[in-house]
């Protein structure tokens, strides 16, 4: 049994037969089965089916399309069990949306303020530097030469 691994390298038959190689052996077996089954049915798939693969996902239920709510609800203590579940679901929703919002460490607004502060800070430092050296903003034009280290 010599099969290709993840990086294209092959594992030897004797190595695969060892006890600790069980997981790899199973995986390779699975891959082989899949290849075989694909080869078996490949000629039965029409060209149209191959090319037009899947720009569309068909979803026959309105629940998913319209994002409908759960159909069971209870209010003001009519069924405490259901109300508890509703509360938990609501909390889950809130956590989910919160996580989405908090996904970024710094929000766009905060970033804008920070940039503004940073910009003024940089401007002021550059100005003060220029004042001290008396130079303009242009970078130094002299090209540094490579210094050969002295031989020992």
């Amino acid at each position: 049994m010599i099969r290709s691994g993840k990086d294209g390298k092959k594992l030897s038959k004797h190595l695969l037969e060892m006890k600790f190689m069980k997981v790899s052996r199973d995986r390779i077996q699975e891959e082989e089965d899949e290849q075989n089954s694909q080869a078996l049915f490949y000629n039965q798939i029409s060209d149209a089916l191959k090319s037009s693969s899947s720009k569309f996902i068909v979803e026959p239920s309105w629940v998913v399309c319209e994002g409908l709510k759960c159909g069971r609800r209870s209010y003001r203590g009519m069924n405490p069990v259901i109300e508890k579940i509703m509360e938990m679901d609501n909390q889950d929703q809130k956590v989910l949306t919160k996580v989405k919002e908090e996904d970024v460490d710094v929000t766009a607004e905060e970033m804008a303020v920070l940039y503004k502060q940073e910009a003024t800070l940089i401007e002021s430092t550059v100005r003060s530097c220029n004042k001290r050296t008396g130079s303009t903003l242009s970078p130094p034009s002299t090209k540094k030469k490579f210094l050969k280290p002295a031989d020992d």
Partner: protein, 235 residues
């Protein structure tokens, strides 16, 4: 045409709607009422073409007959007991089957007590056109969540599938009544609504209000609910 134009676009069966869809490489979800033939998309129901961000399209059409779809939550009526299965009427073309093990905590010895005529709120596990649909009353974690048998002291009534969708829409203001009325409601996607309140009067009031919502917009439902709450407070 842009995507916003698809709102209010009326389609009839056979209309090609490929031009209304998003361009680009993104995948598009085709909902009920739309059918793909090769690279073209056709409407197969009459109604209004709807779009929901980011990539979902469907036809908003009037429907009274329930067509079972996978993962939908429905209210079923037990019509028969057959060995390991209950036969449950969910309003589809044929009754669904519900295993007696598909309840939370059910074992072969510890069976759930369900009689003929009892109601269950269940999820459709499989729904194909060639086989009878299968129901379960547990989720993937083995918990009943909101599913299970419904108590005998509720009131069941039927409505169109449109109304069910309207009631389950997140924008529907009907829930506000819950701040004033104590009630429990179970809405099945198969056009059945089960309602439970403390008094017969409020049960009738609520069921009438729900049925009256069929042809009202959300703002009209809001005003109707406000009226109902006012009348309830006065009585």
């Amino acid at each position: 045409m842009t995507n916003t134009d698809t709102d209010q676009q009326v389609v009839i069966p056979g209309d090609e709607i490929t031009s209304f869809l998003q361009k680009g490489r993104n995948k598009i979800i085709l909902g009920p009422g739309l059918r793909r033939v090769a690279n073209k998309v056709y409407a197969c129901n009459g109604g209004i073409l709807r779009y929901r961000s980011p990539n979902t399209y469907w036809v908003d059409s009037h429907r009274k007959r329930y067509i079972p779809e996978r993962n939908e939550m429905v209210i079923g009526i037990v019509v028969n007991k057959q060995g390991d299965y209950f036969k449950v009427d969910i309003g589809g073309s044929e009754p669904a089957i519900l295993s007696y093990l598909a309840f939370e905590g059910a074992t072969k010895k510890n069976r759930v007590k369900l009689e003929i005529g009892d109601l269950v709120y269940a999820k459709l596990l499989t729904a194909t056109r060639d086989m009878e649909p299968e129901l379960v009353c547990i989720n993937a974690q083995g918990k009943s969540h909101v599913m299970g048998p419904l108590a005998n002291d509720g009131y069941l009534f039927h409505c169109s599938i449109d109304l069910v969708r309207k009631m389950l829409n997140p924008k529907c203001p009907f829930d506000k009544i819950g701040d004033h009325f104590p009630y429990e409601i179970v809405i099945g996607m198969n056009g059945r609504i089960w309602l439970k309140t403390y008094t017969v009067k409020s049960t009738i009031a609520l069921s009438k209000a729900i049925l009256a919502s069929e042809f009202l917009s959300f703002s009209e439902i809001q005003t109707m609910c406000d009226d109902l709450i006012k009348q309830y407070a006065n009585s």
